[in-house]
């Protein structure tokens, strides 16, 4: 059984990664060091990626919120006391801090729950919130059901189910369905595009709240 499909032109036409992130990191670090009121900007820029880092390490959402807060406070403290070795790489510093905190969390080394800044969190704008936080659970569930119902080929649904539900390695799925690596990616690409369409029909931007991080580009 083979699988045919053309390479999506969009794959080749994706826009390049952000440029100028280093400069933005430097100005943000300078602002934090100077105690400017830019703490929210730090959240807006880095909350969503860091949240994914924690969730990927199977940390529950409320605990992840706690670790996010610790990560940001640790960074702010470091910037205001010692400074960063490389202020142009604030994202890298936050990432390392987050992964260390995640490890410490699973080792049981973070026994005391940190006080979250509830006021700050509640005042965060959409651009700092993840897709799941912006979308009602039922609405999201409906979107996924729509997606599964709209996938044109049974095999596409099978790929998603085996990949995400049964957590089979992609090589095993590819081999059993006789898909090349590119064909497997095309299945994922099609599903991603369709889900984006479904989200847009529900009035949501396609996974990007807005251009909050576009200042880094």
């Amino acid at each position: 059984m083979t699988y045919s499909g053309s390479t999506p032109a969009e794959l080749r036409a994706e826009k390049p990664p952000a440029a100028g992130a280093e400069r933005n990191d430097m100005s943000l670090v300078e602002a934090i060091a100077g105690r400017s009121n830019l703490q929210n900007e730090l959240y807006v820029r880095y909350r969503r990626p860091l949240l994914q880092v924690f969730l990927h390490r199977r940390i529950a959402r409320d605990a992840a919120e706690d670790l996010l807060q610790r990560t940001f406070l640790q960074a702010i403290k470091k910037i205001r006391t010692e400074g960063l070795d490389d202020p142009s790489n604030l994202g890298g510093y936050l990432y390392r801090t987050a992964t260390k905190l995640a490890t410490a969390y699973w080792r049981g080394e973070l026994s005391h729950r940190h006080e979250n800044d509830a006021e700050l969190l509640s005042s965060l704008k959409d651009e700092a919130l993840s897709l799941e936080e912006r979308l009602d659970h039922e609405q999201l569930a409906k979107c996924v059901r729509d997606l599964m119902g709209q996938l044109p080929m049974k095999r596409d649904r099978e790929v998603l189910e085996r990949y995400y539900l049964h957590e089979e390695p992609r090589t095993a799925i590819r081999e059993s369905l006789q898909l090349t690596d590119m064909q497997f990616n095309q299945v994922l690409w099609r599903a991603r595009q369709r889900f984006g369409d479904i989200l847009r029909r529900h009035g949501l931007a396609d996974g990007e709240p807005d251009a909050a991080q576009s200042t880094q580009r």
Partner: protein, 215 residues
């Protein structure tokens, strides 16, 4: 690796499916720090994955409620799929069987499903009181990681209390002394050479009298 490479390879999808090697995962996570588009992709794939798993667990819950009570007790083993049984020494089953059973034989074999991994709640393994060894199949552990077993205090168990081996399908077979499970929750994690860890889940043991599982 750059943005175009990550997009072309559907790296966000693989990331959510735990399908990246350690170096690629780190490179991608660092890239995410400055790329809201890739963060959006990850959020979408994670939402899809979570909803599929929720739907399935709800479906399983409904199916369980329809089963005869005598079976439902231990089959309920939360998200763990009991894999069958048994026999005295050696000869474990590498593959899960669909028919689950529990006997008073000395080895009880279970298989951990994907949805049980990394869950917040511990999953109870039900086995006969005269069981001498518990074997648990743990799928989806990267080859470059070691399976570590920790007690309720998150201290690693001694080598004599468990052993693990890699199967041809990439899963690990963990053999445990049932006494370990009687002492409280047991946590599983995948450990990389650099000391980073990935939690795989938590199990507890619950004994039932030999033969009580049979109808």
């Amino acid at each position: 690796m750059d943005h175009i490479h990550f997009k072309a390879n559907q790296t966000a999808a693989s990331y959510v499916a735990d399908g990246l090697d350690e170096a690629t995962q780190e490179a991608f996570e660092l890239h995410m720090m400055g790329c809201s588009e890739c963060v959006g992709d990850v959020e979408i794939w994670r939402a899809i994955k979570l909803d599929m798993q929720r739907s399935r667990s709800q479906g399983h819950g409904a199916a369980r409620r329809q089963r005869p009570p005598a079976f439902s007790d231990w089959r309920m083993a939360a998200s763990l799929v009991g894999a069958g049984v048994v026999g005295a020494a050696g000869g474990w089953l590498g593959k899960s069987t669909q028919v689950t059973d529990l006997s008073s034989s000395r080895t009880a074999v279970f298989s951990m499903s994907g949805t049980a991994r990394g869950g917040d709640e511990c999953t109870a393994l039900h086995y006969a009181s005269d069981t001498q060894a518990v074997v648990l199949r743990v799928p989806g552990v990267s080859k470059d990681r070691q399976l570590a077993v920790l007690d309720a205090e998150r201290r690693e168990l001694s080598a004599g209390q468990y052993s693990a081996r890699t199967q041809s399908d990439g899963s690990r077979l963990l053999r445990l002394d049932p006494q370990v499970l009687r002492n409280g929750a047991v946590h599983l994690e995948a450990r990389a050479r650099d000391g980073s860890t990935e939690p795989l889940g938590c199990i507890t043991g619950e004994m039932v009298p030999p033969g009580s599982e049979r109808q």
